[in-house]
Structures are given as structure tokens and as C-alpha cells.
């Protein structure tokens, strides 16, 4: 009896399969129609921005960079300026993005324009995967010089650093973001602390201790919350003391310098902050558990956090339910009255060397440095890529945090070593391991030296 029941199932499954295969006939046909859809765009970027010809311009962006509406606005204005050219706008995922970009760039039909995380850009620039944009620099809005410190260089220095390799421009700065001090306004008021008086490391530690004492009734309360492995915050403290993660020698080789006296001072700062009463896990980073969740639950007086976390710490049902309970401030330095140099995270945009639409691609990217593009980034809550725009963010209630972030970035910013092996360093981050080791008993000196050895092993690719 059973056999006769099973066989119909097989047939039903076959029917489903054939139905599926016929319904997906259109997507399978797609690559064929894309292949020849390319006209003879010049192989080298045209210096004159006359409307370039193309039929399809493929643009890859990462999730969260643009809202759909802003992306559509950019694409529409491009399409209007380039009649007959359609933008194929695709959002890609972070997980596995390096493999993805590698194969895409090696394929016969690479994307023309692609967003790349600024710490990953160096890999693709060094490999010769991206078009040399040096001759189009002015057209792209970056000014006249590739050297970050030159007055003719118009982009934020850190983003420009991520875009220039061997003196040539291989990418275009997109946007940046950095960390701020997020604090509980209501608790500050209760403890009678004025945020403007927290102008140095010592004052920050004193405030953290006072907040902790005043909120002793709250289980696991941190005056200043810091997880064991927030290595971005650590980098900032190292720079603040004049140290570096790694330095580049005259021969171009990088050498780790966590154990230098200046860097060790920065590491000690981190440990001091942690020991001022943080209840963060010694063996994990700011995302595990997500620090904004703890803040929302009322366990945190202050924390060093990303600008966008301001939106996440306020949520119904927790302790922090009203945006008025939360404030943002610049992160103080060890030196009274100064702020720490901040790590400038963000993205740059590259154009594939094998792209057949380079001229059109340049036109698309150039939109970002135009006033409209810069304002778009401000609207998204990012620090825009041009120094001039970053310094003149309009004074609106929505921009309060962004203005603090931009002010920090203007005062000083840093970046991970622009070394070809840096991705490999981050893949098994010895800096995180170093922090956990110190917090569980190792000396700063020994742990820093051990981390240096591990970084040196891979940093030069």
C-alpha cells in the first residue's frame, strides 16, 4: 500500500521542480543579455567630462550606506545626464565581501563602480584591480594633489590615505564616521556632573567612579562602559599618546610598534579606563554583547561608541526611553582640553580596471563630491568626504551628533596601517588577544611585545 503512496510524491516533486525551472527561465537568461550590452567606451578615463556613453552602468554599494531614496536620486540624475544609460544598482553583503569582489573583478563582466570598506581598499589597490584615477582627480572633486597634507588636497586626510597607493589615486573617498562619548544626561544631572568639565582622562575616570558610586544599587552598572576588546578605542588612546600600531620604514616595510613606550602608555590608558569600574566582558568586544543594549537597560553611564549607536540606545521598554536622556560629547584626551585623535571608519569607491565604462563610471562617482552628493551624505548621518563640507555641517537639531563627530575628525584622526597584510592582521586580531591577556594578568610590556611579533609576521603581505 505504501509504495503506491510514495510514487505520487516523487512525481509531485518533479512537477514542482519543472514548474520552478520554467518560472526561472528569465533570470537564467539574464547574463546572456548582459554580456554584449557594452559599447566602445574609451579604455582610459577621458579627462573631459563630456557625457560618456554606455548602456548599463553597474554600481555596487554596501547595505546602510545610502537610503533607497538617496540612491535612487543619484542614479536618476546620472541617467538624466546620460541618455540611454541605465544604472544597475546592486546592494552587496559584508560577509565574504573580499572573495566576492575578487571573483567579480576577475570575471569577464566586472561591476563598474564599487564601494569598498576603507580598511579593505589597500588590498585591491595594491593588486592592480582598480583603475588609476590620478588624471581625473580634479574632475572627481579631490583637488590637485594626492598628498594628504597638501592644501590642494580637498578630501578628509584619512579617506585620502585609504584612496592613494604608491602616489596614485585608485579610489574616491565616500564617507566617514567616528566614535564619540555617549552619556546619560539624567544620571549626570543626578550626580551633579557637568559634561563640559570632563576635559581629560583623569576627569573622565573621576566622573566614571562617581557615577558608579551614585548608582551602586543598579546591578553591574558601569560608570564608563568598556568591553575588554574594543581595539578601535584602544587605537585612539595609542595615537593620543603619540604612539602608532605600526610604522612604515624607508624600505616601505611595516613594523608593529605596540611595545613602543608611547604606545604602551596608550594601552595603559585603556586598562585604567577599564579598571575604573567597567563591567564589560574581558574576552569580548563592543558588539558582544551589543553595548547599546546595555546602555538601553540602564547599566551604563558613559561609553565610547559610534555615532549611529545614539539611535539604538533609546528604545521602548528599557530604562532609556527618551532621546532627552542621552547626550554626546567629544572623547577627551590625556592632555587637558584636547580630544583624542579618532579612528575614521568609512568607505571609498573604486572603479574596476577592467570596466568597459570607465568614463561613465567617473561621471557617476563625481556626483558624490558635488554639493548635492555631499549634502546627501550629511542627510544620511555620515561625515561627508570633503574637508570643506565636513567643517560646515549645518546647525540643525538632527546634526548635533554629526557635528561633534566632524569636529573630532577635524582635530585629528588616524587610520589602520595602510599595509597590504593588514586584512590578515585583522583576520585573527592580535590586538584583541593582547587586551584580554593584560586584563587577565599579563604585563602591558610582555603582551605588547607578543602582539608585535604576531603583527609583524603578516603585516607585509
Amino acid at each position: 500500500m505504501r509504495k503506491s503512496k510514495f510514487i505520487p510524491i516523487v512525481f509531485a516533486a518533479m512537477l514542482v521542480a519543472s514548474a520552478c525551472s520554467s518560472s526561472s527561465a528569465s533570470p537564467t537568461a539574464a547574463p546572456a543579455t548582459q554580456g554584449p550590452a557594452v559599447t566602445q567606451a574609451p579604455a582610459t578615463p577621458a579627462p573631459t567630462p563630456a557625457p560618456a556613453t554606455c548602456t548599463t552602468l553597474t554600481v555596487w554599494a554596501m547595505p546602510g550606506s545610502f537610503t533607497d531614496a538617496n540612491a535612487a536620486a543619484l542614479n536618476t540624475s546620472f541617467e538624466e545626464a546620460h541618455p540611454g544609460c541605465v544604472v544597475n544598482y546592486q546592494i552587496q553583503q559584508w560577509d565574504g565581501i573580499v572573495n566576492k569582489l575578487t571573483t567579480a573583478l576577475a570575471s569577464n563582466n566586472p561591476p563598474d563602480v564599487m564601494e569598498i570598506g576603507n580598511t579593505q581598499a589597500i588590498t585591491f589597490e595594491a593588486a592592480g584591480a582598480l583603475a588609476d584615477l590620478t588624471s581625473s582627480r580634479a574632475a572627481l572633486g579631490g583637488g590637485t594633489s594626492n598628498v594628504s597634507s597638501d592644501p590642494g588636497q580637498l578630501w578628509l586626510a584619512s579617506l585620502n590615505d585609504a584612496s592613494v597607493y604608491n602616489g596614485k589615486l585608485f579610489a574616491v573617498p565616500f564617507y566617514a564616521g567616528d566614535r564619540i562619548l555617549v552619556y546619560r544626561k539624567d544620571l549626570f544631572k543626578k550626580s551633579n556632573i557637568d559634561i563640559t568639565t570632563i576635559t581629560s582622562k583623569d576627569k573622565l575616570i573621576a566622573a566614571a567612579k562617581k557615577l558608579k558610586a551614585d548608582n551602586a544599587s543598579v546591578t553591574d552598572f558601569s560608570g564608563l562602559y568598556l568591553p575588554g576588546q574594543n581595539w578601535y578605542a584602544l587605537m585612539q588612546m595609542i595615537w593620543d599618546n603619540g604612539g602608532q600600531i605600526a610604522t612604515q620604514g624607508a624600505d616601505g616595510k611595516w613594523a608593529a610598534s605596540l611595545s613602543s613606550p608611547a604606545s604602551q602608555k596608550g594601552i595603559q590608558d585603556y586598562i585604567d579606563y577599564y579598571k575604573a569600574g567597567s563591567t564589560g566582558p574581558k574576552d569580548n568586544d563592543e558588539a558582544n554583547p551589543p553595548e547599546w543594549t546595555l546602555f538601553n537597560q540602564g547599566k551604563v553611564g558613559m561609553m565610547i561608541a559610534n555615532g549611529w549607536e545614539m539611535g539604538l540606545v533609546v528604545a521602548k521598554g528599557g530604562v532609556v526611553t527618551d532621546a532627552a536622556q542621552v547626550g554626546a560629547a567629544k572623547i577627551p584626551s590625556v592632555n587637558d582640553g584636547k580630544t583624542v585623535p579618532v579612528f575614521l571608519g568609512g568607505s571609498v569607491i573604486g572603479i574596476a580596471k577592467n570596466s568597459k565604462n570607465q568614463a561613465a563610471a567617473i561621471d557617476w562617482v563625481a556626483q558624490l563630491s558635488a554639493p548635492a552628493g555631499q549634502n546627501l551624505m550629511v542627510g544620511e548621518g555620515w561625515i561627508p568626504s570633503l574637508k570643506q563640507y565636513a567643517a560646515n555641517i549645518p546647525d540643525t537639531p538632527a546634526n548635533v551628533t554629526l557635528k561633534i563627530q566632524a569636529a573630532e575628525a577635524a582635530a585629528g584622526s588616524g587610520f589602520t596601517p595602510n599595509a597590504t597584510g593588514w586584512a590578515a592582521v585583522e583576520a585573527n586580531n592580535p590586538i584583541k588577544a593582547m587586551l584580554t591577556a593584560i586584563l587577565t594578568g599579563a604585563t602591558v610590556d610582555a603582551a605588547a611585545k607578543a602582539a608585535d611579533v604576531k603583527i609583524n609576521a603578516v603585516i607585509n603581505g
Binding site: 586584512a423 590578515a424 611579533v453 603578516v458
Partner: protein, 330 residues
Amino acid sequence: MTRTPPKDIAHRGAPGPFVAPSRYRNRARIIHDLLPYLAILPTLVTFIVLLGYPLLLLLETSMQKFGLYEIINHVTTWIGLQNYHDVLFQGPAGLPDFLTVLFRTTVFMLVNVSLTIVLGTLVALLLERLNKWVRLVLTAAMVLAWAMPVVTGAVLFQWLFDSKLGVVNWAISSLGIFGDYLNHSWFETGLTTFGVVTVLIVWQAIPFVALSLYAGLLSIPKELPEAARVDGGSERQIFRHITLPALAPLLMMLTFLSVIWDFKVFTQIYAMAQGGPDQQTITLSVYSYIVGIAEQKYGYAAAASVVMMLLLLVVLIPYIRRMIRSLEEQ
């Protein structure tokens, strides 16, 4: 069944003294002899062409300097066995050396495989003895565990074992037997990190093993153990002399598969700890990922995986031969 006309038998070319040898019969015989090869032809083509060609390319790239630059610019730089030399003898100074990693990977694999197979067998035996409803519940629970995406599983276990907000520490503390576990950091040492990874892997691997073995148990004719029981055999004797021999081929296959899978485990370890703390959970696959893929030295990564595959082959070939023999005897 009797509907089939008897002449069909003759068509099958059954030998008979009164059937004269003919060209027709010879051709039928040839077709009959060829039939098994025709049936395995699609598989052969799949393995030799579809799988063999990428394997050949893997071998080829393992002897090249092959990274992002080469793949994008279609450059070929032969460097002979340099990658193999680097994998075996010149583990980068900052990472543990190859032998340490190999030893660690082997121990990790052995622990995981033993736990999976032993616990899987126990669960299968248990399934056989449960009442219908409990069995359905347990089977459904296992299928759910099995079906959970690995990445989701890794995130969940990280949460469950979180030092402050994790349910595990909360439950241990609430039990009160082991004292206060509320701030216990599971990811602080290599051993406990491996412990959590092992729980995750075994949790997801048992369902497959247990369900396969349960299917195997069902195919043992019920009469055998019952007869043994009537003859006064103990449960242990029945297991040793009836159940175990009957399951042996299946057990060998499941062990073989588990060894292969657990030796190559990557996602669980990397998603949970990135090889940390302090590189203590770097296994072979994490090692080749860090040096090969993150740094995009695909040639190096290829050499590392060829070495891994050869190691597995050398260790497993005798086992595979035994397994095949035991299958033949089945």
C-alpha cells in the same frame, strides 16, 4: 505480477539448451555486461570531469604565486613547491607552527567525532525504546537543530555562553550547585572556547548520526533480538552480538564522514572566536583561511588544502579499504 507474459523471460536471454546461439543473443549479452558501466557513467563523469577539473586547477594554483593580482590580471607565476614548503616548514613567525596546529586539529577532531558517534548511537538506541509521541518530539527537535543555519547557530551559542547575559551562566548560577557563574568568561581560554565550539558542533552533528542509525536499527529484523531475549540474553549481549554487528557498516560510514567534516570545521570556530583567544583555537582550516584567504594568497591556501586532503587520504585509505570490505560482506 503474473500479468507479464512468459515470453519476456526468453527476451532476457536466459540460457537454455534449445536456444541456438545467435547474433541477437550476443548483442543482448554485451548490453547486459555494459549496463552497470552505463549506470555509473553519470557519476564517473561528475567526479572525473566536474570535480576532477577544479581539483586539477587547485593543484595547479598550489604551485603558483597566485593571489588577487594574478587572478585579476591573468598572470601565471610558477613557483614550484614553494607554497608547500611554506605551509609545512615556514609557518609565519606570528602564528603557531604547522605541527602544533595539526596536532591541535587532530585532537579536536577526535574529541568531536567520538562524542558525536557515541552520543549519536545512544540517542538512536533511546529513540527505538521511546513511546510514539516522545519519539516524534525528539526527532523533530533534532531535525530543527540539524537544519539551523551554521552562522545563526554560532551567534546563538555565543549569546547563550555570554559571560553576563548568557542563559548558560544564569542557569548554572540559579542551580546554585557550582556557585556563582554570572561573570564566568567561556571565551577567555582556548580550552573553554574549544569546549563551547564542541558543544555546538556535537549538538548539530548528533541528529544526522542518530537518525541514520535509528533507520539502521529499524532494518534489523525484530525476530533476532526477541529470540535472543527468550534465550535469556542480556541487553548488553544483544547489543554486542546482534545490534552492533548489524550497524557496523553504517557506523563505519558515519565515522568516516564525521572525521572528514570535523577535520575541516571552519565556520563554527571562526564565527565564534576568530581562532582566539590568543590564537589558541587556530586549527588547520582557520590557519589556511588567515594566511590564504584573508591575505588572498590563494596559491598558499591551495597548497594548504592539498596537504590537508593528502593527510586525510593517507590516514583514511586503510580505513576506507576496510569499510569497503565490510560493505562487500554485508
